[in-house]
Amino acid sequence: MEVGASYLVTGFTHLNFASAYSAHYGVNRPEQAVAFAKQFGFDALAITDRDGLYGAAKHIAACIENKIDPIIGVSLEVTDQISLGRVVIIAHGHNRGAGWSSLCRIISKAHQKKKNEKPSIDRKDLAELAQQEIANCTVLIGPDSDVGKAALFDPSKASVLLDGWLEHFNTRGCLAIEVFSHLTEPGTSYSNDHARALISLADYKKLPAVLTNAARYLEPDDALTADVLDSARYLEPLGIFLPQPNAQAWLKPPNDMASLALEITGDTKMAKKLLSTTEQLTDRCRINPVEDCDWGNPKTPEKQLLGIEGNPFEVLWQKTHSAIDYRYPGAKPSLVTEVQHQLSKELITINKLGFSTFFLTVADVAQMIRDMRIRIAARGSGAGSLVNYLLGISHIDPIEQGLLFERFLSTERSTLPDIDIDVESSRRHEIYRAIFKRYGGDRVTLLSMQSTYRGRGAIRDSGLALGLDEDQIDQIAKSSWRFSARSFRAALEVKPELAKLANQVGKNRKLNLLVDLTQRLDRLPRHISMHPCGVILGDNRLLDLTPTEPSGLGLPMSQFDKDDMDPLGFLKLDVLGVRMQSTMAYAVKEIERVENKTLDLDSVATDDKDVFQLIRTTNTLGIFQIESPGQRELTGKHQPTEFNDLTLQISLFRPGPMKGNMISPYLDGRHGFIQPDYFHPDLKPILEESYGVVVFHEQLMRIMKVMTGCTLAKADEMRRKMAKPALKQDIETYFKQSSLARGYQLSVVNRVWQVLEGFGSFGFCKAHGAAFALPTYQSAWLKTHYPAEFISGILTHDPGMYPKRLLLAEARRLGVELWPIDVNKSTDEYFVEVISGAKGVRMSLIEIAGISTPEIQRIIKNAPFRDIADFYTRARPSRKTIMRLATIGALDSLSSMEATRGDIIQKIREITTKPAPNINPSQNELDFSVTEQLPEGNPDFTHNQQLELEMGLTGMDISGHLLDKYLPMLDDLGVSRANELNTLRGNTEVLIAGIRVATQTPPMRSGKRVVFISLDDGTGCADATFFDEAQARCSDLLFNNRLLLISGKLRRTGKNGVSVLAENAWDLNQLWIKWERGERLAG
């Protein structure tokens, strides 16, 4: 038959193919499918994923690359009171996007559902959206529709059901019958009989019948993966649900499809008709990406929405030039000339690329965010653009910082640039809503992302399919971080830590299968979710060009992901929430409230000596980017004195430069221990700032320019190519030839190339580093000048890596008072309160263990309270909450000075045994007596008891430092305090003690494990390093104990760089018990 049918084929196209973007259904990615189709001689291929166009952009891109025509459709459930099953809807092409936009709107409509309802579209809505005078889409009524299901057993019922469709779809070509046969048992669904029944029905109703294979994988073998995906979709093991009937749903080549047509019809003429009708519909549905989807054409909101009249480029020119005075007040003529020169250069590039409106759009959003009084900062290479600086998108002066526009944008690349904006994390959603409001819901959607199967998920779902025991799957899944799921089998063979699992796999058939299934699932899309920061902005056609569905936030999100943005010409803005920005905004608000003055943090000069002095002490807790133990140590060695030092320090303290051993030569050069090596006098101006070490992309670009004579734009292109091994050779040849031709010595050329070559993974974009350094400086500035306000900010918005109790210790160290939790004063935030001239931070209610948000709200709303009964009645706390509040002293202000904590707790025991009285609206007075009587004679807590209760109930030692009680013993032992270490000589034997606040085991070049411990003793942080031998003595303690005493030798690493080379460690509590008993302490 196979040979016999080939004469039938003039061409065949699969009009029903579900890719892996039909989550838990399709098996292969669009790129694979298109390559496969190309290989088998198809000249077009459809993608018809379930419920969306998730894979459509990737499909189109792959089709363009392989020079075949894309066809786009969707598989959707249709309803008309009851479910009518699934149909495939395909967009017609070459109609200026009418088909594409119909399809987008049909899908968006299908997703407008209540929460947890599956997408489906009402038949009337579908009919309305699919045809406007003429058909824009064809709806394929196939075996999975109501008609198709009836056709097999009850043709007359099928005919009646089909009338129901014909009633709504009356334009020509809007309906077709889809026929497919998966060669199942005669007389069952998807059999040849089923296909024949549908052909008869189509003939009877004079509808076109087209042949598909309802494909969901490329090859029969993939059917096994499809079985596992079905299991994940049904959430049941294989064998429990009705599985796919066989492995026939693959992308059969044209000849096979022709044979199939003949086998179904049993008649050459009928087979020919079936195939030619299929080709006719195919031709109608071939998509022209540019014409139909506006492929690659950048889309921005309309000018009038941005408040622009006339030529956008002229407006951009005007806006940027008029900002020069504001950004460079009183600048010298030479600087102004430089600014104008740079600006012209950038504007020419922007104009050439046609991106003027893009920049004006981002500027408009930035202005809107500022008008909302929300802090905003540019991140990434965008900070290298003067245009961005002048438009207020970025606050970094690229000229002063030596940043390069070409790193951000150049005519060598025509993709829309990424401008990432950092905003206050706590107000990010507010910004999203404002963007929707400003530009309208028809021009804005959120961005989505596809999460894919990785080790853990792949193991779990494979285990589920095989019906493995959940605990067993858990065990295996836990080890999955050790390898990539794709190479599970290989990892079992080589990794010694997986030997036990490998042994089990060898003995257990199902575990062995699990390995194969896991590898099959790896990287397949699982589900769509909201991208954490992306917003798409377009013009009023946006919803004609992308389908949307509700996000977790309620706002609609596009079904396309970030990789689809550039091909589709969508403008994506990354609005990232940054807690430090919230922290700083909060601190500024507190300064304004308490000090009654306004403060523009972004115009604060970046050369404040006091700020750098504070940084140099290494007391950097709470400061953006440089508070970690490692950064603290580096700060001690580095001793930054100006803004650029912060940029350098942030750029250097990353795994790449650390592994590449770039930090020591930099520090040695900086401190004059070695003579910096600039390779050639021409490179000195470029490398001077980093003492001969190539740290920044911008430096590499400048070196390329100086030595080869290329443009900076070309230099950046080469920088990108150098990361790809296949392209590196060309760059090397070019670099060496050009620099030799320009007269550089061979030895210089070779040495410089060696450095550039090794630079690849270590380099950092200076614009990015500078964009990070700004909030670093700003937070340090706030800490220096307004410690109380800053501490209240970091406590409220918690931007850092340390527990809050350490921030309290830092506050105490800075002389900031800590006012206890008080139900009459505390709120859900930490705020500054001045009591008798002393500035302090009022602790917040939110730290009380187990307190609920409604409880907090009731306390805030009803405060102040007259007494305990009043509090109990009006704030209606749970018994547990009121007891906890009393225990930590939050109710102290509700009773007389003489009452002890014990008296208050006793009182609460009494009143909480009765139910809380309801307030009688007509009578605001309470049942309790006006002057509240408290029980008397109950004991008060000791200071140490109080501290322990605070730790237990809030996780913080508020009224003192946890170490306080040990002080006599520490003095007795001669323990040094953290703030004394810097006054001691190197190699001094020291003891340090404190609360463990950080434990880190970074990867080391030698491969040996090193443990870094930071202890807080209330005077600051002391850092200790444990190498092998020391670890052997006490490794249990290092990871489990909170309170430690450590012995070791003091190591000086720089002016303010000290740490302890640890020899041993002890549990402070154990020592305390012995010391109290008067025992002699060993060691």
Partner: protein
């Protein structure tokens, strides 16, 4: 319907359709056009491994329904055709 499970010798035509077969000493001739379909297997109960690209054999099996006659004795026979071994097995007589 009788369940059987016996390897048999089958003669096929150019298109791979069974024409005749021998079963328990009788020679059966196909009458009418045999019908082929694919039935699935519960591979998760049967196979030891399933690496990508192994084969579809684990998942599905080629089935034939043949009306056949031997002298006065006629019936409908269901056969399994295994690839690539090209073995035929009689599984049901209806």
């Amino acid at each position: 319907m009788i369940q059987v499970d016996e390897l048999i010798a089958v003669v096929t035509n150019h298109d791979g359709q069974p024409v005749s077969f021998d079963w328990r000493g009788s020679h059966y001739l196909a009458t009418g056009v045999p019908v082929r379909w694919y039935a699935r297997k519960s591979w998760w109960r049967e196979v030891d491994q399933a690496p990508k690209g192994s084969s579809a054999e684990a998942i599905e099996v080629e089935m034939w329904r043949v009306r056949a006659q031997c002298d006065a004795d006629s019936g409908v026979f269901e056969l399994i055709h295994s690839n690539p071994s090209d073995e035929w097995k009689l599984v049901r007589v209806i």
